[in-house]
Structure formats: C-alpha cells, structure tokens
Symmetry: C2
Subunit: 344 residues, 2 copies
DNA sequence: TCATTTGGGTTAAACGTTTAACTAATAATT
DNA sequence: AATTATTAGTTAAACGTTTAACCCAAATGA
C-alpha cells in the first residue's frame, strides 16, 4: 500500500498540515521539525499522492507535449530530442509530461488532444509547425501555450526558437571565407518559418559580402526536408549547367541525401565541393565525408520551453516571451574545399 | 472553470451518484435517465476529473512507457511507432501514457522512473532490451509489467513480440527459391533476443533446405544494428574471398548501410546480388534499390501490449501471457536476382 | 504591567469523484 | 393478502491532500 501523509505525521509526531507545509517548503515550520518530518517521510518512502494534490490545488501537475506524426516519426531524432529536454526540465520542476502525436494535417472538425478536452494538463508545448486552425481552437481553452520551432503568422504566443538567421550567416560566411562564390541552397518545407529564416540568413550573408544572388541556385520546392528530397535536389543541381562549388542545406537530412546522390552519380566530386547542413543530428553524419553543420542544442529548446511554460502557469511572465537559443558552426570533413572545383 | 458532476446532476435533475453510475455504464439506471444524464453532460461539456476519480478509485488511469535512450533516438522510427500504437489503444481504454526515457546502461544504484517511485501509474510497458537489474528492481513494486520485443533470460513476464523465426525463415527460403546458395547474415547487438532469433531462423531455413552452414558468412560482432555498422559489415563481406550472392540483414538499417557501402565501393554489384532486411521502416528504404524486407507491424505491437497490460491491471489474465505478432515478407527491388553473381 | 506582535504550529473545510448501504416503489411469489 | 424480490434510484462516507483561519506561548513595545 501507498504511504500517506497521515502515517508520516504520526511518525513525526506532528499534524498532517505540518507535513504538508514542510513538503511545500513553507518557512513557517522550524528547522528541527522540518528535519524530523523529512526523515520520517524518507523512512516511510513517502511520495504525496498526485491525485489528492491535484484535486485540491486545481493543478494537475501535468504538461502536454504535442507533435505532428511526421515530426515524431522523422528519421533524424530532432523533435524527439526536444521532447527529451522537456522531460528533463519537467522533472526538475516536478511536472509530468504527456506526449501526444496528432495527424500532420488538421481539419477544422478534428478534435483537440484528449488531455486538453479532459483538462488533464496545466500547460501545453507544441513543437514544430502545426495548423493555425488548431492553435486558434486551442487558445479558447485558456491553457498556457509555448511553441517550439514555429512562429505562426498571426496570434501572440510564447515561443522558443533557435537562431536560424545567425546560424545560416555563419555557415555561408564560412563558405565565403574559404573562397566559395557559387553557393547553392537547398530546402524543403519552405513555409516553415525556421526554414525560410535559414534562406533569409543565406541571402543576408551573400548581400553582406557583396555576392550576387543567383536564384537558380536556390532550390526550395521540396515538400519535406528529408534525405530522399536531398537526393532529388542534388540530382537537380547536377542537371543545371551552373557553377556550384558549395551547398548550404536547410538541414542535415537533406545534406545526407545530397551526399548519397553524389556517391551514386559523381563520387569524385565529394572531395571537391563543400557542404554544410543544419541541426547536427549526430547519427549518420559521421561517415565519409563527415558533415559540417550548424549545431542546434535540441535539449535546450525543450528545457527552455518548460521553464517558460511553468512561469506562465505560475503566473509570472504574464506577457508572452520569445526565447532564442544560439547555434554553433561545427566544422568537419565536408568543408575542406576552397571553391576551385564545381559540380558541373 | 471546469464543469463538475454536481452541475450535471443539477441539470439532469438526479443525484451525483446517478451521474457517476451512468458514466461508468452501470446497468442499474434506466435508459431514459441515462439519456437525460448523457445529454446534460454533453451540453455542459463535462469530463470527469481524473484526480478525483483516481483518489477514490486508487487507480491513476496512467500507464508508463519506458524506452532506453538509444532506442528512442534511433534513426529508424521503430520504437516510436510502437509508442504510437500504445497511445492509440490507451485512448480506447481511457488511459493516458507517460513516456519516459532512461539511460541505455543501468547501474544497480540508478533510481527507477519517477512515475514508479511516486506510484503515478497503474501499469508499465517496457520496449526493447533493458538491464535485468532494472527489471528485478521494478518487480518489487508489484506493478503489472508488459515487455515488448524483449525476453529476459530469467523471470516470468507478460510479453509481446514479433515472429522473428517465421519472418527470417520466409526471407531465407525466398532467397533459396530464387536460386541463392551463398547467403550471408549480418547483425548487430546479437545479445538481443530478437536479433538472435533472426539468426536462428536463418540457420533453421538453411538446415531445412539442406544448405551447409558457412560460419564465415555470419557477421554478428557489431554492437548496434545501425546504418553505419551495416556499412562496416558490408566492407567486411567484400574483403573476404567467399562466394556471396545474397545477404539477409538483421534489420533495415543495416541493410541500408550495406547498400551505402556497395554504392561507394562496387555500384555495379547492386544490380547483381539480393538483399532482404527486417522491420520495414518505410522511410529511406524506398530509394534505389527499394528494399525487400520482413515487415513488422509496429503499431500492433503497441496495441497488443496495452490490451494485455490493461487486462493484467483489471485482474483478468493473472497468468503471464506471450503474444506473438506475425510478420510478412515484402518483396521490392533488392530481391530481383537469382544467385548467378557474387560479391567477390 | 498590559497590549501587541511574532513564531510555530493545529484544526477543519474543501476539492470531485466512487461505491457500499440504504430506500421506496413496483412486481412476483406463495 | 402478505411476503419477498427486483428495479431504480439516493445518501453519505471516503479517498489524501492543501490552506485559510485559528490558537497558544514567548518575545517585544509602550
């Protein structure tokens, strides 16, 4: 059977209120009593009942984490690592997190996640792009919301994102420093703010360094930024008769697809051109050539989201905040080349 | 504010007990009253408070789902899909699922997941191989346990697994039917029961068809069965001067690594030898050549685990059960060849 | 000296359900 | 007709916390 507060109180020779106050770090209790109570609790292996606590405090102690199916099932563990971060910080803050996965397309008539309907959470974290209709519907429930890696066109939200602009600039400027002038950009899902920001960073870096923008080197028509589409983008790059000595990819998955394609079609080129990805997905980017990339601290995104959300729940930070996690350029083998050779 | 049972009772002109009984599908209430109550509940958008319910019923309504970090962050969405399955069935059965990720190595002194310590779950599902010390410690808490895709050497557990033996036999026998005689097997993490069963199936199929076992064609020394190790295994296969016309891989990830390697080293061979994987991970296996594989219904594994677990919680099925999910051989481009050509 | 404040607790109500025990009305049995 | 059984509900206790309101003793102030 589960130990209750009553038994702890009995053992410590105090009232149950005292036990409760000690556990809630109330200063009204003297250090001595405090110690006695804590010792008794430890000895009895006591953990307060979440249900009882929730019932009276009107807080469930749960957070919701929402992911679309395509984000959750993505090959690279990007959003799953973000989830890991939320779990770590939720633990620190004594919350539990419910992960739920919704369909990637959202219809007006679709219902909201069960934990919203049943009001079984105190706040909700949404990672990646989701339908605006979903957000609008959700807002009506008056639950604190934090978005990760997505900025809706309309509406005011607490948001945690990585520094896409700065990351892209550092990548492209590194190419330029190496001597590259003909730098391509490949991307999928350009409607996602993070991706379009990376394109913006690419353009900004070129402009800042007085390099003419060449639109035929910008490939953004692909749907999902995955390995297969990276392969297709590479095929296209090979087919156009333009000078290209470096490729900046909107993420590592596409960069891997690019490398796959070159291995298939023109293996010799791999030693000659330069490639930078984005995200630093760790697995599968450490094979020949290892991939230079803009590293995103995924755990941090999750951690900061929980911090922000809990502040919102507790009533601090009534105003919505935007937190930007810095990125870092990581250099590996795929950026050994100086712009002398070209794809075509 | 949240609607309570009181307000529903008031609106339906009955006692709160009646509302509760209706919602719990008790037959003591007449169909008419039943309807009135349900209508009132619907109109008031009423959902019972989980906390209150949990408090009195001594059941949290939560299930725990445990995954090791390396399983969770794996490139192929295998265990994540299993989680999806548990979520679907938990929904049907009115449970919530807490997903938690633990370190891949477990030390005796490591603590158990928080939801176990705090007794915030009614049952627990563990997917993939975990340390036996962890299971032993867990058992002491007397929480119903269901394992997915893992059979511990000692101890009695409720288990859900896929049919590894039958799947492997069907793959290898298909090779044989095509005319292959020199069939290699590559694997990682051979200590995992599912992997060693696949090896057993491979051997069984050869024996059944009177093909001599050649141990130099069996490569199982790799740690994790991932793409990179598939690549390494392929390098090794290329280096030994043995006839090999077909390769059975312990999973799709290794098969993809094998294909990667052939693309790098001997692209022409890809059209000549045959390859079969295991799992059917869907993404990235649909590029040249598309991968033949033994399909595992991952969703089903999760669904069946929840069914089994809930039965255990509810006190049916006191005895531990083993559920075996059938597999299916899926033929794609990687098995077009008949054994005439060889790797070396 | 008496009134007031402070420190360190306790008491008891409340949170929203479930469910055993009860009741009243009707139906079935003898 | 009297007794018993059944049907369809109600009453009230219980679950394990939190917390506002209260209390008493000791310290402080005038």
């Amino acid at each position: 059977m589960k130990t209750t507060i009553k038994e702890v109180a009995l053992k410590a020779n105090v009232s149950i209120a005292t036990v409760s106050l000690v556990l809630n770090k109330n200063t009204r209790i003297s250090p001595q009593t405090r110690e006695t109570v804590l010792k008794a609790a430890r000895k009895l292996n006591y953990y307060p009942s979440r249900s009882a606590r929730a019932l009276v405090s009107k807080q469930t102690g749960n957070l919701g984490f929402v992911l679309t199916k395509d984000h959750f099932l993505r090959t690279e563990p990007f959003y799953t690592k973000i989830f890991l971060g939320t779990e770590i910080e939720a633990n620190n803050k004594d919350y539990y997190v419910f992960l739920t996965v919704m369909n990637s397309v959202y219809n007006e008539s679709d219902s909201l996640p069960r934990f919203v309907l049943e009001k079984n959470i105190d706040g909700i974290i949404i990672a990646g792009k989701v339908a605006d209709a979903f957000l609008v519907k959700l807002k009506k429930y008056n639950i604190p919301i934090v978005l990760i890696d997505y900025i809706p066109k309309k509406g005011d939200y607490s948001i945690v994102i990585m520094d896409n602009i700065q990351g892209s600039i550092s990548a492209v400027e590194y190419f330029i420093k190496l001597g590259h002038k003909n730098i391509a950009f490949i991307a999928g899902d350009i409607s996602h703010p993070s991706i379009s920001e990376r394109l913006r960073g690419y353009k900004l870096a070129l402009k800042r360094n007085k390099i003419m923008l060449n639109n035929s080197l910008i490939l953004t028509k692909y749907s999902s930024p995955n390995r297969t589409n990276g392969y297709k983008a590479a095929e296209h790059l090979l087919s156009i008769s333009k000078k290209i000595s470096a490729v900046f990819c909107c993420n590592d998955a596409m960069a891997l697809g690019l490398i796959d394609c070159l291995k298939d079609k023109k293996p010799s080129l791999l030693k000659k051109i330069s490639i930078i990805g984005f995200d630093d997905i760790e697995e599968d980017t450490r094979v020949s050539p290892t991939l230079s990339t803009v590293k995103v601290n995924k755990i941090d995104l999750g951690v900061e989201a929980v911090k922000l959300l809990v502040n919102n729940i507790k009533g601090k930070n009534i105003t919505n905040k935007k937190i930007i996690i810095p990125t870092e350029l990581i250099l590996r083998e795929s950026t050994r080349n100086n712009g002398k050779y070209n794809l075509n």
